[in-house]
């Protein structure tokens, strides 16, 4: 087996370790500003960028040196705060988890769909968060709290691990064709967060959540297109979680 030193010396020519040539990136961005026009329009920008640069930093380069009015949300810039979900070349992603090298020399950026656009890439998150709040997204346990922690086996903990990863970025919900067509549908993110509690052995409100999700705005609106799973920047098996909630409602297995 190679030692760490071998690996280090053998990989000195890797792209990450040398400064690779910049690429010329053309960005087509859908713009909207209610103070300028009732209609959206397209703007094109050209940026010289390092292939390993994050797309959110390319957007910063435009904002800081080409057009200060370009507006988007961002904060952590490494995929954990969930601010910068947008549609990049037709697919929902976080702009901080897509590198220039991942998109080629041309990229089209639009706001995520199904939520009202407020300005450029900024959408109204409140309907999305209302969906989240509608599924009682908190632990319910009226059984009296012990002095110490409630016990939970590693297996019980593993049962809902995947759905604890959600960062509420809305990439899944706004990739869902059912959500686009039906504002009432709570959408996959809300179901993911319901799943996180329904399958938590400490929780007691699973039946209530499943009743909420069995209504017409709930889980049976899902048509299993898997867009949500593709879109999730956290790698959550969203469609599987939705299916598990459906099955739990049908067979009360939770």
């Amino acid at each position: 087996m190679a030692t760490a030193a071998d690996v280090l010396s053998g990989s000195d020519d890797r792209e990450v370790r040398g400064s690779s040539d910049k690429v010329r990136l053309t960005l087509k961005i859908r713009r909207f500003n209610p103070e300028v026009s009732d209609d959206s329009w397209w703007d094109e920008f050209v940026v010289e960028a390092d292939p390993l640069e994050r797309l959110v930093e390319v957007l910063h380069e435009i904002k800081w040196h080409q057009d200060g009015t370009l507006s988007f949300r961002r904060s952590c810039a490494h995929g954990i705060c969930g601010s910068d979900a947008m549609m990049i070349n037709g697919r929902n992603a976080l702009a901080c988890k897509v590198l220039v090298a991942d998109v080629g020399t041309k990229v089209t950026i639009e706001p995520i769909r199904g939520l009202a656009v407020l300005k450029d890439l900024i959408v109204d998150m409140d309907p999305f968060l209302d969906g989240f709040k509608s599924v009682l997204p908190y632990l319910v346990n009226e059984g009296g709290e012990p002095d110490k922690e409630r016990f939970q086996s590693p297996e019980e903990r593993a049962r809902y691990d995947d759905t604890t990863k959600c960062i509420l970025c809305a990439a899944c919900t706004t990739s869902c064709p059912v959500f686009w067509g039906d504002e009432g549908y709570v959408g996959p993110a809300a179901i993911v967060n319901a799943h996180r509690f329904i399958f938590d052995s400490r929780d007691e409100a699973g039946a209530t959540r499943m009743k909420i999700l069995s209504e017409k705005t709930g889980v049976f609106r899902c048509r299993t297109t898997f867009n949500c799973t593709d879109a999730c920047p956290r790698g959550i098996q969203v469609t599987q979680a939705v299916q598990e909630v459906k099955r739990a409602i049908l067979f009360e297995r939770f």
């Binding site: 690996v7 988007f72 407020l118 903990r157």
Partner: protein, 579 residues
């Protein structure tokens, strides 16, 4: 148009400290959270490795050992009674998080699992101890989500994407409210209140390489500083040794807690030479300095010879997958490196502000060496300085800080507000804020804020980072003077009212410059090396002269004056810091 709101208490910032405070306060008095981000976007969510408490679920432990480690880790600049209190209340705080639903990893018998972390030891430094409670490598994410869930449950009132830009004091110097800018509309809001708790987080964005979010611009500290209140120990800024090379994205210390090691370009595990007992689990300041020394002696890797490597490739793939999934993904996505097979290039990254708004153990903001409280004013979390972290914070203690002191601050604030009358607002409360915004909005041409920010970040990285000197710091102070002048002429292109992030970035840059100036002036004065503050022209700790906290004040003429206050000592007598 200015809209006025009235609440008993306000919390500024929707991260872990702010939400924990709001949960407490909103049970007792009308409370609003003013947050420039949606709460779940806060940087608490980026914390990875764990939160320490001496639960002794896995091996023998005690709060007293935890307190000792915290004091020693902080190079004895820690106020010892505060550290004792925090480590004792840690157990209750973790149990509370579990009751709130936080999905901690579990031991085989169903208890909260614990793992090793840097500087946390058994029996006063004998050996590493398993003290960090964790949820994979997304512990901060789970704390943030769990606290947000509890806020939803309690229907806590949030004003999201509202930027707090000013603190209002009444004629007697007591808290009267704040002024905020609504990002969606450009409207100014005056919030009148009996009490205000700042929980705005850190200011790592003044450095080029940082683990901090773009939003971390020191708004809270800068606002109180501008109101003539002091900032404490601003020179104490932590540089985390394992930032992803170039980017500074954090790779958790949990990687080393699980058995990862740090290598130089020759593949040598050099920490064996610097900290023979606990090696790679030495505190962050020591590991960052060791990396610097390796680099200086020609053993750094990468194109500029300024990288080290974090190696977890020898760990069981199951451990990596279950306990370190996020940081593994960061290396794959951002550096195209496969951590299960090869070492990951790293460099020290600006991570955490130990200094900030001085408070007592109830979160009350206190002024001067005699610690006079400002009526109704509170701070908690990274923007505050209690001080439990001293000159160097131990890993996991920031998450502990926010839940322990967020709760204490929120509880005290609510008690205060219930017993206080609503103060009068000053006349024209929004005048200063309106003036600031108008001056930027009406300027047709001037300096580019992004260029000023880049110069700030590049120079702070070169001159005020892991290794400092009088020469570098005096140069930095001069540069800051120049940058401040240029910032007075900053011009933006977006003149609109709707989501004008261009305008807010210009304002945030002013906050950053204030914090940077306080940091540099404080660092210049401290002619010793202690914890994260290392001066190569004064390489030794000097307890005779510098076992004291720095207080920086903004004078009316714009200059900064320093004052000092003693460290609150306790059972632990300063000794040489060896590991």
């Amino acid at each position: 148009m200015v809209t006025t709101h009235t609440y008993d208490a306000l919390v500024i910032g929707g991260g872990g400290a702010g939400m924990r405070a709001a949960i407490e306060s909103s049970e007792h008095c009308t409370t609003a959270v003013i947050s420039k981000l949606y709460p779940t976007r806060s940087h608490t969510g980026a914390a990875q490795g764990g939160v320490c408490a001496a639960l002794a679920n896995v091996e023998e432990d005690s709060p007293e050992w935890h307190a000792f480690d915290t004091v020693k880790g902080g190079d004895y600049l820690v106020d010892q009674p505060a550290a004792q209190l925090m480590t004792e209340e840690a157990i209750e705080a973790i149990i509370e998080l579990e009751h709130y639903g936080l999905p901690f990893n579990r031991t085989p018998d169903g208890k909260i699992d614990q793992r090793r972390f840097g500087g946390h030891t058994a029996n006063h430094g004998e050996r590493p101890v398993k003290r960090a409670c964790y949820a994979a490598d997304r512990t901060g994410h789970m704390i943030l989500q769990t606290l947000y869930q509890q806020c939803v449950k309690r229907d806590v009132r949030f004003f999201n994407e509202f930027y707090c830009l000013d603190l209002l004091l009444d004629d007697a110097g007591g808290t009267a409210g704040i002024v905020a800018y609504e990002l969606a509309t450009g409207e100014i809001h005056v919030f009148r209140s009996k009490a205000v708790l700042f929980a705005t987080g850190g200011y790592g964005r003044m450095f080029r390489v940082t683990s901090n979010a773009h939003a971390l611009t020191g708004d809270g500290p800068a606002i109180v500083f501008r109101r003539g209140l002091p900032l404490e120990d601003m020179e104490m800024f932590q540089f985390h040794p394992t930032g992803l090379a170039r980017l500074g994205v954090l790779l958790s210390e949990a990687a080393r807690g699980e058995g990862g090691i740090v290598l130089n370009k020759d593949g040598e595990r050099f920490m064996e030479r610097y900290a023979p007992t606990i090696k790679d689990l030495a505190p962050r300041d020591m590991v960052s300095r060791a990396i610097y020394q390796e680099i200086q002696e020609g053993r750094g890797g990468g194109p500029n010879g300024d990288w080290a490597y974090l190696d977890i490739s020898h760990l069981d793939p199951k451990v990596i997958e279950e306990k370190l999934p996020d940081i593994t993904e960061f290396a794959r996505i951002y550096l195209k490196v496969e951590p299960t097979k090869e070492p990951v290039p790293i460099q020290p990254t600006a991570h955490y502000a130990m200094g900030g708004i001085p408070t007592d153990i109830d979160g009350r903001v206190v002024v001067g060496p005699d610690e006079t409280p400002v009526p109704g004013l509170y701070a908690a979390g990274e923007c505050a300085c209690v001080s439990v972290h001293g000159a160097n914070r131990l890993g996991t203690n920031s998450l502990l800080d926010i839940v322990v002191f967020g709760r204490r601050g929120g509880a005290h604030m609510a008690r205060f507000a219930k017993g206080a009358d609503l103060p009068d607002l000053p006349s024209e409360p929004a005048a200063q804020t309106l003036g600031l915004l108008d001056s930027i909005l009406t300027r047709d041409s001037g300096d580019n804020g992004a260029d000023i920010r880049k110069e700030l970040q590049d120079n702070m990285f070169d001159l005020a980072f892991v290794v400092r000197s009088e020469e570098g710091l005096s140069k930095m102070q001069e540069i800051l003077g120049n940058l401040r002048e240029r910032h007075d002429r900053v011009a933006i292109t977006d003149k609109g009212s709707v989501y004008n992030t261009d305008l807010m970035e210009a304002v945030e840059l002013g906050f950053l410059l204030d914090c940077a100036e306080a940091l540099v002036v404080s660092a210049r004065a401290r002619t010793e090396s202690r914890g994260a503050h290392f001066r190569d022209d004064h390489p030794l700790r000097d307890d005779a002269n510098w076992l004291k906290h720095t207080l920086a004040y903004r004078n009316d003429d714009g200059s900064i004056r320093l004052d000092f206050k003693p460290v609150k000592m306790g059972p632990y007598v300063p000794m040489e810091r060896k590991y």
